[in-house]
Structures are given as structure tokens and as C-alpha cells.
């Protein structure tokens, strides 16, 4: 796949997109398929998932048996390259007085986080778009579920999402025929379902962006792009070329058969095939350039390979650099017209930073000991989950909003920690008896992870550190964080619920207090909110299309613009919003208003 453009290219571009992940990839695809000349700048290196994915590699071929380290947190085979919570030469800091240090995940690669994510693709529901109207907290969106529903349908059809329609409260169904069939559950998932019944906790098929069957590209593309023969051809052919999942290998490694969704396997190939997209990788954007009238004219970036300052120009600039990086670029783009940073007349850039509330608990399930072996790899991630089920009881819980439960465990490829249980179940045993113990306990652990909604608060934000720059000379971010009781109480509820489930399944687990059991801020890698959309230019940064109030030809398209951060992972919503914004931008460009 020819991905990189000639760095000396002097072509004129209509649109510059900063970032190549979910938001940037989708915008790039939609615009280039409609004849717009697009230049995409990516801060990381080029990455070809077809050639670089270690699909069937085993732990013995990896350092430390593939175990996660500070350099590769999710293990040696995780698709993230050249990045993580620490990127050499690109520091970030904490502001004095912060309650906790924020962890900022940054893949430096083409396709960004879409290469390694969990592929959990849950639609936000109608409550999630109007949270303030329901409980008085946080912010309402300027759009409702109905505005985004058609784009959820289109996005799900194009990227391929498995799951089912269950008609549950605030857990939207997709239109008929949109979802791919859910894979059959694994034994631990069925056992969880069985025992959750007595606790009145639902367990249903999850939605994930993995093809459980091959796509009929031409048929789907005709529906997706009714008036665009070129898009029908390019996207249709490319969709048909993706393979269905073959029930092996972890999705987090990436997918060289393109069964799961990554920007690099689904969005960028068709966009590049249009001939209208150029990509420059290793391009670290430092600021957006404006003219005297306050319009955006292009971006100033550092060519990381040569360390040479460079400029790219276009009629429109779209920042899709990720929630915090987008805020950083805006705050660093200061000028006489924009002394507080670009598009920041509201003062909201960098504010309202949220991450998912995360907490987990695992337990040994005696019923799963010594089971006859069968292949449990499945779709490389969850087949079932628990959506938030306590909307009716919300007022009695001591916290607002809710969480979903991700359910995992069983006979996955053995890792260094796979038999950690033997330390407590089988102390003192060695020799052939130890092998019997290993066979008995392998796969007899189930884990439950909560992913919950955090409400924006004034203590959680990022800002430019006045004293420090990174190795490219770009002022760095520093973070400030403080959990509210909503998140702490929610995490306590998670812990108690998980212990109840494990107990009902016949195991034992000790719940921890919420404050102690909370994951680090940033650790769930679902940051959002640093440049929220709204209806009031004084209180928000962009309109519902990601167009900044202050600068008509500057758009933002990543999770920075989300006014709420529901328990439902963000990527599907970022993709759907990007599709909607691309249509709006095309229209505006035709009308000549940007």
C-alpha cells in the first residue's frame, strides 16, 4: 500500500487533516471520495498492518515472553508502535496540587489508537446526549440521538460491527440488517449469564467492530454512497477484500486480514485509492496558522526525520490529533488576534477533561476447573457484556450515570501471569503434581472490568506548561485532576457488583473501596471533552459539526468535542460524528462559506 506522499510535494490542498485515527481517517475518507484534495499529517511513523502485524507469533518469540513492560504496556505484540504512556522526548507534566498524575497515551503511528483498541462499538443513547436535562450535571449536546442515528447505521455498515438488538433502555438498537451476527459465547460468558440472572444483571451480546462474516462490498457501498459511483467502486471493492474473522489472535495486535476495524485497514486504503489524499507521516504539528482576518491558512509542523520546520497550506484545517493533543495545538496557536490560543474565546479549550471510570476484579471460578479443552480464542475480545442496568434505581445509588461491565476470562493463550493463581491454590507443590495443578486451574479465572461515565468537573483539565518544551521545541501540556464523589462511589458499586457476581458463580473475591480501586486518570484511554461542542459560543468551542465558533474554516474532529463521556467507548461515536461533519463541510465548501 503506497501511503506516503512525496515530502517535497507542492500541491495545493483544499483541506489539511492533523491526525490519521478514527476522526481524521473518517474525515479524510469522506472528503477525498468526494473530490476534495486532502493532506493528512501524522505525528507518528508510517505503519502497514498487512506487513507488520505479528498475527500468530507466540510468547516464546518475544522478550520476557511478551509480558507488558513500561516500554510496551499492553505487551510485546500490542499494535502500538513508538508510543504509549511515555514517548521518549515528548514529556508531559502534572500541575502542582493535582490529586493524581494523569497518564496520557500517545501512539505515534499511522492510524493512531485505532490500531490497537478493543473494538467495542456501543452507540450512545438518547440519555447520553442530554445528560444535564436528566440530572442537572455536565452538559447537553447540541444534537440528539436521532441526529446521529443515521450516521451510526452507516458507520456500522461500513466498518462492520457484530452484535444484536436487545431493545434495552438507553442502549440503542441498530437499524435492521446493519449488524453482523454475534459470535457464540464462550463457557465463562455463559456461566456469567447463568448466575447473573439471579442478581438481575443482564448479559447480552456486545457490539464490536470485527467482521463475523465477509461483507458484500458492492451492495453495501451502493447504500452508503448512493450518488457517488467512484466511492461505490473504491469502497465496495475494498470492503469485499476484507476477510471475516478466523477466530484466532488478539485484536490488540492489529489485524493483517483486515477482519477488524482500524483506520489503516478500512478508512485510509479507499481514501488513498481515490487519488485525492496525500499523507505525510513523522509530521509533528506545532500550531495552526492564521491570517490577519482571523482565518486559518495552514499549519506549521516539524518534520521529525530532518528536524526542519515546515508549513502546509489549505482552505480548511481539521484537527483530529486526539483529545489532549488537539487542545495542545490550539493553546499553542497564539497570535495577536488569539492571545489565549486559537478558537478559545470561551476559555474552554483544555477544560472538561474526562476519562472513563475504570475498576476491575477477578476471581477463581471452581466450576471452570479441569474443563475439557476447546478453542476459546473467539473474536479476539468480548462476545458478551453487561450494559448499564440501573437507570430505574439511579437516585438510590449515590452517584450519577452508569457503567457497563466487560467480561473476560477462560482459556486464552497462556501468558506469564496465566497461572498466578497457583501461588494461593497450590503452595508448596512441585514436580508432576504441579503439572496436574496447572491443568486443573488453567482458564478457571473470570475477570470483570467496569467502564463508567465520568462527569466533567472544573478540577480536571490540561494547560500549557509555561516552563517546558518537548524535543521539537513545542510547549508541553501539564494536567490537573481530581475525582468527584460520583466516580468514587461508582467504582465502589463496581467492586461490590463484581464480588457479587463472582460469589454467585461459586468463587470468592474481596471488593476494594472505590477510591482505591479506581484506575488512573488516562489509564482507560478514553479522554474527551477538551473542546466541547455546544449551542453557545461563550460556553463551548465548536458547533455540532466540529466547526469552531471563532474560526469558520477550522474544524475539530476527535473526542475533544464530546460534551459527555458516557460509559460507551468513544470510537464509534467519533466515526459517526466525523461522517456527519464531512457532509456538512462538503456542503459549506460548495456554498463557499468556508
Amino acid at each position: 500500500m503506497a501511503i506516503l506522499t512525496d515530502r517535497k510535494s507542492t500541491r495545493e490542498y483544499d483541506v489539511i487533516i492533523v491526525g490519521s485515527g478514527a476522526g481524521g481517517g473518517m474525515m479524510g475518507m469522506q472528503l477525498s471520495l468526494n473530490g476534495v484534495k486532502v493532506l493528512m499529517l501524522e505525528a507518528g511513523r508510517n505503519y502497514d498492518p498487512i506487513k507488520e502485524t505479528p498475527m500468530f507469533h507466540t510468547p516464546d518469540q518475544a522478550p520476557l515472553r511478551g509480558k507488558g513492560t513500561q516500554d510496551r504496556f499492553f505487551g510485546h505484540y500490542d499494535a502500538t508502535v513508538g508510543g504509549g504512556w511515555q514517548v521518549p522526548g515528548e514529556p508531559y507534566g502534572d500541575k502542582e496540587g493535582t490529586q493524581e498524575e494523569f497518564w496520557w497515551w500517545r501512539p505515534r503511528m499511522l492510524g493512531g489508537r485505532t490500531n490497537h483498541w478493543g473494538r467495542i462499538s456501543l452507540r450512545f443513547g438518547q440519555y447520553d446526549f442530554k445528560p444535564k436535562s436528566r440530572d442537572g450535571l455536565g452538559y447537553d449536546w447540541p444534537i440528539s440521538y436521532e441526529d446521529l442515528a443515521p450516521y451510526y447505521d452507516k458507520t456500522e455498515m461500513m466498518i462492520g460491527v457484530y452484535g444484536s438488538n436487545e431493545g434495552m433502555e438507553n442502549t440503542p438498537d441498530s437499524s435492521p440488517g446493519v449488524l453482523l451476527p454475534a459470535p457464540k459465547p464462550r463457557v465463562g460468558e455463559l456461566l456469567t449469564k447463568k448466575h447473573c440472572k439471579s442478581l438481575n444483571i443482564p448479559v447480552i451480546p456486545i457490539h464490536r467492530a470485527v467482521l463475523t462474516q465477509a461483507l458484500d462490498g458492492p451492495k453495501l457501498a451502493a447504500k452508503l454512497f448512493p450518488n457517488n459511483p467512484k466511492a461505490q467502486k473504491l469502497v465496495g471493492d475494498d470492503m469485499s477484500a476484507r476477510m471475516a474473522c478466523f477466530w484466532a489472535t488478539e485484536c490488540g495486535r492489529g489485524c493483517s486480514i483486515r477482519a477488524n476495524f482500524q483506520s489503516t485497514t478500512v478508512l485510509l486504503p479507499a481514501a488513498l485509492a481515490s487519488g485525492n489524499l496525500d499523507i505525510i507521516t513523522d509530521a509533528m504539528v506545532r500550531e495552526v496558522l492564521t491570517d490577519d482576518s482571523g482565518k486559518v491558512t495552514g499549519v506549521h509542523y516539524m518534520d521529525k526525520v530532518t528536524r526542519v520546520d515546515s508549513i502546509a497550506r489549505a482552505r480548511v484545517v481539521i484537527l483530529s490529533a486526539s483529545t489532549c493533543e488537539t487542545a495542545r495545538i490550539l493553546l499553542n496557536s497564539k497570535s495577536a488576534l488569539f492571545p489565549n490560543g486559537l478558537a478559545n474565546s470561551s476559555g474552554q479549550v483544555g477544560r472538561n477533561l474526562t476519562d472513563s471510570v475504570g475498576s476491575s476484579l477477578a476471581g477463581h471460578i471452581p466450576a471452570m476447573e479441569s474443563l475439557p479443552p476447546y478453542n476459546e480464542d473467539g473474536a479476539g475480545g468480548e462476545h458478551v457484556y453487561t450494559p448499564w442496568w440501573n437507570y430505574k434505581k439511579q437516585e438510590t445509588l449515590g452517584f450519577a450515570r452508569g457503567y457497563h461491565i466487560e467480561i473476560g476470562g477462560g482459556r486464552y493463550m497462556p501468558s506469564m501471569g496465566a497461572l498466578g493463581l497457583l501461588d494461593t491454590t497450590s503452595p508448596g507443590i512441585y514436580g508432576k503434581k504441579l503439572k496436574d495443578e496447572a491443568r486443573r486451574y488453567y482458564g478457571a479465572v473470570m475477570g470483570f472490568a467496569g467502564r463508567g461515565e465520568m462527569i466533567p468537573n472544573e478540577n480536571c483539565y490540561c494547560e500549557i506548561d509555561p516552563n517546558r518544551v518537548d524535543q521539537w521545541g513545542i510547549p508541553i501540556l501539564r494536567f490537573h485532576w481530581k475525582w468527584s464523589d460520583h466516580e468514587i462511589n461508582q467504582a465502589t458499586h463496581m467492586q461490590n457488583t463484581f464480588a457479587d457476581i463472582i460469589g454467585a458463580m461459586g468463587g470468592k473475591a474481596t471488593p476494594r473501596p472505590g477510591r482505591e480501586a479506581l484506575n488512573k486518570p488516562g489509564e482507560i484511554i478514553h479522554e474527551a471533552g477538551t473542546a466541547i461542542m455546544g449551542t453557545d459560543p461563550k460556553a463551548s468551542v465548536v458547533n455540532s459539526f466540529g466547526q469552531t465558533w471563532d474560526v469558520k474554516n477550522l474544524f475539530l474532529m476527535d473526542a475533544s468535542i464530546l460534551p459527555s463521556n458516557p460509559d460507551k467507548n468513544l470510537t464509534l461515536t467519533v466515526l459517526a460524528l466525523a461522517w456527519r461533519s464531512a457532509e456538512y463541510l462538503l456542503d459549506e465548501m460548495k456554498k463557499g462559506t468556508v
Binding site: A2, Q213, Y374, Y412, P427, Y430, K435
Partner: protein
């Protein structure tokens, strides 16, 4: 914040390797051609086609020989799976304790010191190093330290060593594909068509009938 655990020496090694490969562009050079990779940190951006471990393995041959005996006592060969040393678990331990991360550095202290402890212990009682005493003498020593809750207080150092060694050996052993069939892991292999799900015998065994459709 997690500072990089790499030592200066490690960093010099990485930079030297990258320079030797011509991966660093000289100042003022032409912009690189498409698809050229730039400087790579082999820890955060590994090359899967050419696996490498960018740190030293600190244990010497005598220590490794002792560990080979120990890992085989912990996980010996049987009808369905090999002895731990046959698939290099002792070599893996050497790689493990050399890694530049806090957990591994702590384990280095435990494992290297533990090997010396068990040799001294064998020498005191039998006049020879651990690997040279009779198998029943070896297991007698292990029996006295294998359970930290039951070991005599004066053997607590040995018990702590054995506990760590046992878990690292289990990890190194069962992450090797040669052991998977025996353990009961049969994945990492492609299947055509829909995912087959749980076999009927397990459904019946656990009373999961009627849940499969969810």
C-alpha cells in the same frame, strides 16, 4: 510519570545499533523516500521479523546449570510435555533477570542470591553443590523450603527464593507452545466459518442449556 528504566549503557547500545543500520539521517540530507523507517527504539517499536533482546543476560554457566536442575525438579518431563530445561526455561530466566525494569531487577536479586543460597545449603549438609548431590537429597532440600508457610524460620530465605522461582518457571514453561496441548490450550489456529462455541459436553456438564442463544 514513569522515567525510562534504560541505563545510559543501554541507550548507547540502541543508538549504536540504529546508527550502524544507517537509520539516522545526516543533517541537511535529502528528505527520505516513502516507506523508509526512521530511528526505532527496539523496546517501544520492535521489529517482529528480527526479534532481539537489547539487554545482557547476567547469569553465568554454573548458575544456569543449577537453574536447569531446579526447573526440571519443578516441572519435569511426563508423557505429554517436555522437561522445563528441554525448552530452555532456565535460559529464559537469565533473560528475565537481565531486563532493565524494576520487577526484573528485584527478581535478579532473588534468583541469583537464591541459587547461591541453595548451593551453600547443599554444601553445608552434603559437602557438594546442589546440582551434584543425589536426586533424593535435592528433593529433600526442596521439600524443606517449597511451602513458605511451613518452612522453618532459618530456611525463610530459601523458601522465598523457591516461591519466586516456581512462579517464574511456571510462566516461562507454559508460555512455550510445546506445553500448550498438555495444558489444555488449543487456540492460535484459524477456523473457517462461524465461531463454533462451547461443545455440548461442557454445556451439559455445567448446566448451560438454553443460554447459548442468549
Amino acid at each position: 510519570m514513569n522515567p525510562s528504566p534504560l541505563s545510559r549503557r543501554d541507550i548507547f547500545k540502541l543508538v549504536a545499533a540504529a546508527s550502524a543500520a544507517g537509520a539516522l539521517a545526516p543533517v541537511g540530507a535529502e528528505p527520505p523516500k516513502p516507506l523508509t523507517r526512521h530511528f526505532k527504539n527496539t523496546l517501544s517499536d520492535p521489529d517482529y521479523a528480527h526479534p532481539s533482546i537489547p539487554w545482557d543476560k547476567p547469569l553465568d554457566a554454573t548458575e544456569l546449570a543449577t537453574l536447569a536442575v531446579l526447573v526440571d525438579l519443578i516441572l519435569p518431563a511426563d508423557e505429554t510435555s517436555p522437561a522445563a530445561s528441554a525448552i530452555g526455561v532456565h535460559e529464559f530466566l537469565n533473560e528475565w533477570v537481565g531486563a532493565p525494569y524494576p520487577e526484573n531487577r528485584a527478581d535478579y536479586e532473588t534468583i541469583r542470591g537464591g541459587v547461591a543460597w541453595i548451593n551453600t545449603h547443599a554444601w553445608k549438609h552434603h559437602g557438594k553443590a546442589f546440582k551434584e548431590i543425589a536426586p533424593e537429597e535435592q528433593t529433600a532440600i526442596l521439600d524443606s523450603i517449597c511451602d513458605p508457610a511451613k518452612a522453618l524460620p532459618e530456611l525463610s530465605h530459601g523458601a522465598r527464593f523457591f516461591q519466586k522461582l516456581r512462579m517464574l518457571t511456571l510462566g516461562g514453561y507454559y508460555t512455550h507452545p510445546a506445553t500448550w496441548k498438555s495444558l489444555g490450550y488449543i487456540g492460535n489456529t484459524p477456523i473457517n466459518g462461524p465461531y463454533p462455541g462451547v461443545p455440548d459436553e461442557i454445556i451439559k456438564l455445567l448446566g448451560l442449556e438454553g443460554l447459548e442463544g442468549l
